[in-house]
């Protein structure tokens, strides 16, 4: 059982809670794989997705997860500009609460916004990504994919390469994986590596090869073109050449090491096409894990009420 009213980040969740979400997620995935997608648990419940940033992928995943469990789903796409000009988040939250929403799934460009909302509303709040803070459901789906492919997450070595500075995914994965006993290595250009990440349990490496050495899982993180314009690196081409993961780099990993990426992926930048489409890629698998783990989160949060 989850001890928190909300799922705001993996920093807050205990290893037991993470483990429980993953266990329920495994069951959900088993059902989904058999194409069973009609569970009754959220019948008569309302789930609102409140997205202040565009993200078709994450929003669809949450929407399907809620619908597969019988919930009424409302999608609110608030533009980023309305964060500054429109109604305050607190007031929006109060309105959604007054409408008797049971769960609010929020994506917001500013760190801590889901926490502010959670403090305001009675509804359960699920963080679908807040600024550079956390993206717990993405990390949980990554971990679910790992758990399916390995006997245990404990003892796994996971290498994360890419834009770690601006990646809430990297941080959520770091918190979750280390809580479950995995080892996390990281490599990125210094301009895309956040201060103090080494003190949070990551082993920061000085080369691709060192990061990938002996890894069970190699995860690429999206490099956004904006970062090039911001002067974080000269060009995507140069990034690919010196920081991207290719077949040569993968030779340092364990034989058959899995390739993962939260998507959307820049082919030939973070990962080569051969790796993306290869035998060891789990990128498509991650998508179904995403629905399963989001169903598990909704299931466990709503379960608190009985």
């Amino acid at each position: 059982m989850l001890k928190h009213k909300d799922v705001l980040g993996l920093y807050d969740l205990s290893a037991e809670e993470i483990d429980e979400i993953l266990s329920v997620g495994m069951s959900m995935k088993k059902l989904l794989k058999q194409n069973i997608k009609k569970l009754p648990h959220l019948q008569g419940k309302s789930v609102t997705t409140l997205f202040y940033e565009n993200s078709t992928r994450t929003r669809c995943s949450f929407e399907l997860a809620a619908k597969y469990m019988g919930a009424h789903v409302v999608n609110i796409a608030a533009s980023s500009s309305s964060v500054q000009k429109g109604e305050t988040l607190v007031d929006t939250g109060k309105t959604l609460d007054a409408m008797k929403n049971d769960v609010i799934v929020i994506r917001h460009p500013m760190g801590g916004a889901p926490r502010l909302l959670a403090r305001t509303v009675k509804a359960h709040v699920v963080n679908a990504g807040d600024g550079m803070n956390e993206h717990p459901s993405q990390a949980l789906l990554d971990m679910l994919t790992m758990r399916e492919n390995f006997p245990s997450i404990r003892g796994l070595k996971v290498a994360i390469l890419g834009d770690i500075s601006h990646s809430r995914v990297a941080k959520s994965n770091l918190f979750g994986l280390t809580k479950l006993g995995a080892e996390v290595t990281m490599y990125a250009p210094r301009t895309l590596l956040p201060t103090g990440i080494d003190k949070m349990g990551a082993k920061v490496c000085s080369s691709r090869e060192e990061a990938v050495e002996g890894a069970d899982v190699v995860m690429g993180l999206r490099i956004q073109l904006e970062r090039q314009h911001a002067g974080n690196f000269p060009s995507l081409g140069e990034y690919a050449k010196f920081y991207g993961v290719n077949e040569q780099v993968m030779k340092y990993a364990k034989e058959g090491a899995l390739v993962m990426h939260p998507g959307p992926v820049n082919r030939g930048v973070e990962l080569t096409s051969a790796l993306i489409d290869g035998e060891t890629s789990r990128i498509e698998e991650q998508v179904l894990s995403g629905i399963a783990v989001r169903m598990a989160i909704l299931f466990l949060l709503t379960k608190q009420e009985i």
Binding site: G111, G112, A113, L116, P194, T195, G196, M200
Partner: protein, 418 residues
């Protein structure tokens, strides 16, 4: 009237004395003085505290604070004189606003309010504000507080022109291009929370610039709210080679470290940001060795509407007048960094010297600006009990020692604890 049996904080020590007030001034100091009076057995009399850096928000932002509520908060916090920053609306960049503030403060009649004028018109960093006229109307210093004057050339001119009128520039040090939207100190906790960080250099490069200007022009300069260990060191080195630089810091910089942002409590959002333990210790060391001359509150009251939003959108600032003395006493005197006399100098004597204000010490003939406190009373900070309109404090629930009981301004009792 006579204040009896108090521990009186003088320049060179604390003495059990009586103190006679006549016509607003201290008329006599001695033992066994006769006359009607206030028995202050067990209490301590300090020179009236002076805060040279507050925001009173009036005119323009009366929802956050006004001169009446700000003055009430000041005397409750033991302050007899406060200097208010010019980021009002309209900006305090002309004699009309300066006069308005002085008149309102007189009507309110609690503490002495000393306006600080803007350096440039509208704080826009383009043309110099009406510096001479503001001085004539009663401005005691100049500041662009809330930001720095971007153009170094203009800043040099401002310092020179201000000097002709005997005014100092109080410099808020912040390189906007380095801050670049940062809202907290860049470090472990900015990464943990994903809040955008700002590196120490964003503050330090402008501290260094102002020091260079002061040195090069042989003029005095004052550095506002120093928060970094490196900034303290820059000032220490400058002082050592004779640059006429003075500097201030605030209770939050020597009390808190940036782990307080982990809860996303917007009351911890302040500019410059709360930094790390290394900085906190350096600020205390700076106060100890005289690098940092004085303690100010940077009292920045805000309405709840400005704080009950996303951290990145929340207003910067801490409502500090009602907690400053207790925090400073607890942290610095009880913490062993300063003696009580030294604290009195940081919070009264030094600001008076820096700005050439009357007061700042207890002596026969000086204005009877007095702060009487119980240094043994321990209490818990409760923002709901603030008289300031700004309840924004990161210290809610904190236990502190030292409670202001009475505040006298020019011999008149302006605050008495209920």
């Amino acid at each position: 009237m006579v204040i009896k049996n108090a521990d009186v904080v003088l320049k060179d020590g604390v003495k059990k004395l009586d103190l006679r007030i006549e016509e607003g001034r201290i008329a006599e100091l001695g033992k066994g003085l006769k006359g009607e009076g206030l028995d202050c057995t067990g209490l301590t009399v300090l020179p009236g505290l002076i805060d040279m850096h507050v925001h009173l928000r009036e005119p323009g932002f009366e929802k956050k604070e006004d001169i009446a509520s700000g003055s009430a908060a000041a005397v409750k916090g033991g302050f007899t004189q406060i200097c208010c920053m010019p980021n009002t609306r309209p900006v305090t960049d002309n004699k009309v606003v300066v006069s308005y503030i002085l008149n309102r403060a007189k009507e309110v009649g609690l503490c002495k309010v000393r306006p600080v004028g803007a350096i440039t018109e509208g704080q826009e960093g383009k043309n110099l504000a009406a510096i001479g006229a503001m001085k004539a109307a009663g401005a005691v210093a100049l500041s662009e507080d809330g930001k720095s004057v971007l153009s170094t050339g203009l800043m040099a001119n401002a310092m020179m022109y201000a000097a002709d009128f005997g005014l100092k520039c109080l410099c808020h040090c912040e390189d906007a291009s380095l801050v670049d939207g940062g809202v907290v100190n860049e470090g472990y906790y900015s990464t943990l929370t994903g809040l955008k960080g700002s590196i120490r250099a964003a503050e330090d490069v402008i501290i260094a610039r102002e020091i260079c200007l002061a040195e090069s022009l042989s003029l005095p300069v004052h550095i506002c709210h120093v928060s970094t260990y490196s900034g303290v060191q820059l000032i220490r080195e400058a002082k050592a080679r004779g640059v006429r630089v003075t500097a201030e810091t605030c209770p939050h910089y020597f009390t808190l470290t940036d782990e307080v942002i982990a809860t996303f409590d917007t009351n911890t959002k302040v500019n410059p940001p709360i930094r790390e333990e290394r900085d906190r210790l350096a600020v205390i060391e700076g106060l100890k060795d005289g690098t940092l001359d004085c303690i100010v509150t940077d009292h920045a009251p805000h309405h709840e509407d400005d704080k009950n939003v996303e951290y990145a959108l929340a207003a910067f600032g801490i409502s500090g007048l009602e907690t400053s003395f207790a925090l400073s006493y607890t942290q610095l005197v009880k913490g062993g960094a300063l003696t009580l006399c030294e604290l009195a100098d940081k919070m009264s004597g030094a600001p008076a010297r820096i700005l050439g204000l009357e007061g700042g010490g207890i002596a026969v003939g000086a204005p009877a600006d007095l702060t009487i406190a119980d240094l043994n009373e321990t209490w818990t900070v409760d923002p709901a009990a603030f008289v300031s309109k700004g309840k924004n404090t990161p210290f809610a629930g904190r236990e502190v020692t030292g409670r202001v009981k009475y505040t006298f301004v020019d011999g008149e009792l302006k605050y008495r604890e209920k």
